[in-house]
């Protein structure tokens, strides 16, 4: 099963050292906060202490009078007249008339030192008129809830909906009521998940410089330098091409670094300070209070099932708040909720709701974990009720190639059945369990995004190759792209250098998001290498005086294609490259597109837990991730994605949550209180890489980055029920909640 067994490739499927490994184990790699420049100023941001408040007056005079302060900005320093998402981004970067959540920026300072900037921020006087606030999604959707923003609803929202509903959707097919009527068992339950944060260890950081001429530069930790460029220039009213954005190494993102939060502030401060570079680094508490967590959700699910496990009808109604702006991933949650199952009768309803919380951002498979928590939990309960094996039930209903997905389109090649069968065959499933222990199973789904992709590849004078990509390397994509390029060119892995480049070097690239870097940049690199191969065959053909069509590329060299083409010894890439100057100039390949042929990825997780009946504490005893990778280019980094996704899902299931006080302030703004899993919380995480190659990618790649966070939430809930008999329908399943659930069932 392991990828390493593939023999048809020399490099794809091997596990070489990653190209950026040395820099990252020696401390040399430069992240967002690791750069400085001559004349650099430091910035600090003043944030609202209120969840919802009118900003009556801001007095910056004392801050401006402080020695060393070079610029103070408020919303008055930003252009007006923006609309749509540009306005949302601007409003989130710096509050206008009202502060919309605890931590919303209201002013910023640039000064000669970090400490001086922080002192100056404390001298800014803001007069607030505190307004009523709303935090919980079920409260926010009430007709009489405090209104976050008039007129924020889009055209999808029917007349008469509560004021904080800003997007509404319903879709499906068949007749769910008929489906329920056909069932032997119909169950309906409500589930809730709290917001969690991506929790990347590197806080947002940037250094921006902007002159009076509208030309600027930025160094920033981001998943997507072109997104930073587009959003910063939109918020500041600049021409897009005048800002050059260089991505630093990135200390984790998980979706949270695909957008802007404070980056325009450094540019606006720089401009006001006469074009001096301005460095802005968030604190952890800024990150938790003011950068995108995921949405919180309240979800009703109703499913009908026959005695043999066949699903006859399914309905989901999801309500999600994504903060004070539209954009919760309720749509994606609904698309993924029933995606593993072949359904004729299915109905989805979704509400995107505003609340006084920070603007949500993407978080690994946005929406999918919440939907899976609801659906996979209910399916598990129904299997228990009907005494059907949960894996057999999933196999019975599993979607296959050619089936219509619950959300509409027809599936191409997918590997759900293979994934479930590999799960069933795994030895972990036959390990006996002891008292207070339980085993839980759940499936999950995520897409593979394509997006704008531009890659350039150039052959060097010695026959080595450089690849310029626009997708920052978060988890080893330099390695996977180098492997595919080297495989295609027929040269050693070490002869390829993959560079993540700035916005001036390529056409527009979407970020490293949507599980796309190895798929999209990888595919483009392979096509670009193909162009270079065509050119090198042409150069050899010219020298040999034969038709270029009669030359083929084998093992890193041009050679005549068969005896009829002529008898010439192979001409190596180094030989061809060495004389490029006299044979037509530089040899390169380029490809840009929105690559077709995305490959979605299904996964299945099995978790064994032990629950302490005295305290309600859940311990993860063992954990198994089985997921379809299409083909694992660098299996170690595919395993890493599986393990990392599972760990984040475990944190979400058991411990992580945004906790608000009655005053609407976030209570857990440091890692001590927002506790992510630590090494002693987890066991080894077993992985099985299933490989059902994606025909849409030259090496069969599917996106693997995100699916892994989806099944842990329900898998752990299912395991806790088996261990305790208690069913948890609300996250996190922290000890007090588990204990209460055990007590409630009389345990």
């Amino acid at each position: 099963m392991a990828k390493d067994e593939f023999k048809e490739f020399k490099l794809v499927g091997t596990r070489p050292d990653r190209p950026d490994g040395l820099d990252k184990v020696t401390g040399r790699a430069r992240y967002g906060a690791d750069i400085s420049a001559p004349g650099m100023l430091w910035a600090a941001v003043l944030r609202s202490p209120h969840a919802h408040a009118r900003i009556v007056k801001i007095d910056t005079s004392k801050a401006e009078a402080l020695t060393g302060v070079k610029a103070v900005i408020t919303r008055a320093d930003f252009p007006t007249g923006l609309t749509g998402e540009d306005w949302n981004l601007q409003e989130n970067t710096m509050a206008g008339e009202r502060a919309l959540y605890d931590g919303h920026a209201v002013a910023a300072v640039a000064a000669t030192s970090k400490l001086r900037a922080e002192e100056a921020v404390r001298l800014i006087e803001v007069e607030y008129e505190v307004l009523p606030h709303v935090i919980d999604v079920d409260d926010a959707i009430k007709p009489d809830a405090p209104v976050i923003r008039e007129g924020a609803a889009d055209a999808t929202v029917p007349e008469g909906m509560p004021p904080n509903v800003v997007r509404y959707m319903e879709f499906g097919r068949g007749d769910v009521e008929a489906g329920f009527a056909e069932a032997d068992l119909v169950m309906e339950k409500t589930y809730k998940t709290e917001a969690t944060h991506q929790g990347y260890i590197e806080p947002h950081a940037c250094m921006g410089q902007l002159g009076a001429d509208g030309k600027g530069e930025m160094w920033v930790c981001t998943q997507g330098q072109w997104f930073i460029r587009k959003m910063c220039t939109a918020v500041l009213g600049l021409e897009t091409a005048q800002l050059r954005v260089t991505p630093s190494e990135i200390g984790g993102g998980f979706g949270g670094k695909t957008t802007i939060f404070m980056e325009p502030l450094s540019l606006a401060l720089s401009k006001k300070a006469g074009g001096k570079p301005v460095k802005l680094v968030m604190s952890r508490s800024d990150v938790l209070r003011a950068t995108g967590p995921t949405a919180s959700a309240s979800m009703d699910v109703k499913i009908g099932m026959k005695k043999d496990g066949t699903i006859t009808g399914a309905r989901a109604e999801f309500r999600m708040q994504g903060g004070a702006f539209p954009g919760s991933p309720v749509d994606m949650a609904l698309y993924c909720a029933f995606a593993p199952y072949k359904l004729t009768n299915v109905e989805h309803v979704g509400y995107d709701v505003l609340a006084n919380r920070p603007k949500c951002a993407a978080y690994r498979a946005p929406g999918s974990p919440m939907g899976a928590f609801a659906v996979e939990s209910l399916l598990d309960e129904m299997c228990r009720e009907l005494d059907v094996d949960p894996l057999d039930m999933r196999l019975k209903n599993a979607v296959r190639e050619g089936d219509t997905a619950s959300y509409g389109p027809k599936y191409g090649s997918i590997g759900l059945v293979e994934t479930l069968e590999a799960t069933k065959a795994h030895p972990n499933l036959s390990i006996p369990l002891g008292p207070n222990q339980g085993r839980g199973i759940a499936a999950g789904y995520w897409f593979n995004h394509n997006g704008e992709t531009s890659v350039s590849m150039a052959i060097s004078e010695d026959g080595t190759a450089q690849v310029s990509v626009g997708t920052p390397d978060i988890g080893g994509s330099r390695a996977s792209i180098a492997l595919m390029t080297a495989e295609t060119l027929g040269i050693p892995y070490e002869d390829v250098r993959v560079n993540v480049v700035e916005t001036g070097a390529l056409g527009v690239n979407e970020p490293t998001h949507g599980s796309r870097a190895t798929f999209a940049s990888g595919k483009a690199a392979v096509i670009a290498a193909g162009h270079a191969i065509t050119e090198m065959c042409k150069r050899a053909a010219n020298e040999w005086g034969i038709d270029p069509e009669a030359v083929e590329w084998v093992d890193g060299a041009a050679q005549p294609a068969g005896d009829n083409a002529g008898k010439f010894p192979p001409m190596s890439i180094a030989e061809i490259a060495g004389k490029m100057g006299s044979t037509g100039g530089p040899i390169s390949g380029h490809h840009e597109s929105v690559p077709e042929g995305v490959g979605a990825s299904f996964g299945c997780h099995v978790v064994d837990v032990e629950v302490d009946p005295e305290t309600g504490r859940t311990t993860i005893l063992r954990y198994l991730v089985v997921q379809d990778a299409g083909r694992a280019i660098h299996p170690a980094y595919v395993e890493g994605q599986y393990q990392g996704g599972a760990a984040q899902g475990i944190g979400w299931a058991l411990n992580e949550a945004y906790i608000y006080g009655d005053d609407g302030r976030l209570q857990n703004t440091v890692f001590l209180d927002y506790r992510v899993p630590v090494a002693s919380d987890l066991p080894m995480i077993d992985t099985v890489i299933v490989e059902v190659p994606n025909p849409g990618h030259p090496y069969g790649v599917r996106g693997v980055g995100e699916t892994g966070i989806t099944p842990p939430l329900p898998a752990i809930a299912n395991a806790i029920q088996e261990a305790t008999g208690a069913r948890l329908c609300e996250l996190p399943m922290s000890p007090p909640k588990v204990l209460a659930a055990i007590k409630a069932k009389g345990g």
Binding site: D23, K24, V25, I201, E202, I250, G251, Q643, A679
Partner: protein, 160 residues
């Protein structure tokens, strides 16, 4: 606030800098000495990305004031390799793919090195508890634990 002259040893080199008494050792390393390998992930001693040793004691440099380093020995990630030769832990981290984004890696390596100096033959559980103060959000710790155990085995073999 007037600055304080600090003389210290960092990775064996004598270093002097002027520190504001409010500045952390981490700030001083990063902003005054230019050693940016130690990272700030939280500033509250919860994430361990800023781990260094101070006179041989493993500390979060975000919880130590720069002025406290006066007259002491500081060891950071930048001093871990012996010239061009990586410490076995550094090699094993690359070999086991024990890093993804790499941001927590310097702190984990510094902490793991101290563990292996203290306990050359740790169990998996001991490694997990020792590193419980070093957050990694990418890997789920699996490959990190394996890399540390493997490095420990290699170091024991070298010592034997």
């Amino acid at each position: 606030m007037s600055k304080v002259h600090v003389t210290t040893s960092v990775n064996g080199d004598e270093v002097e800098f002027l520190a504001d008494p409010r500045e952390t050792l981490l700030d001083c390393l990063r902003d005054h000495i230019g050693l940016t390998g130690s990272k700030e992930g939280c500033g509250t001693g919860d994430c361990g990305a800023c781990s260094v040793t101070l006179d041989g004691t493993l500390v979060c440099s975000c919880l130590v004031l720069g002025v406290e380093a006066d007259g002491k020995r500081v060891e950071t990630i930048e001093g871990m390799a012996d010239g061009a030769e990586l410490h076995p832990l550094q090699r094993k981290f690359i070999e086991h793919a024990a890093l993804q984004c790499g941001f927590c890696t310097p702190g984990i390596l510094v902490a793991a090195k101290k563990l292996l100096e203290t306990n050359p033959n740790p169990t998996e559980e001991e490694v997990r508890y020792w590193l419980a103060g070093n957050l990694c959000r990418c890997t789920g710790y699996d490959k990190i634990i394996r890399a540390v155990m493997d490095a420990a085995a290699e170091l024991r073999q070298e010592a034997a």
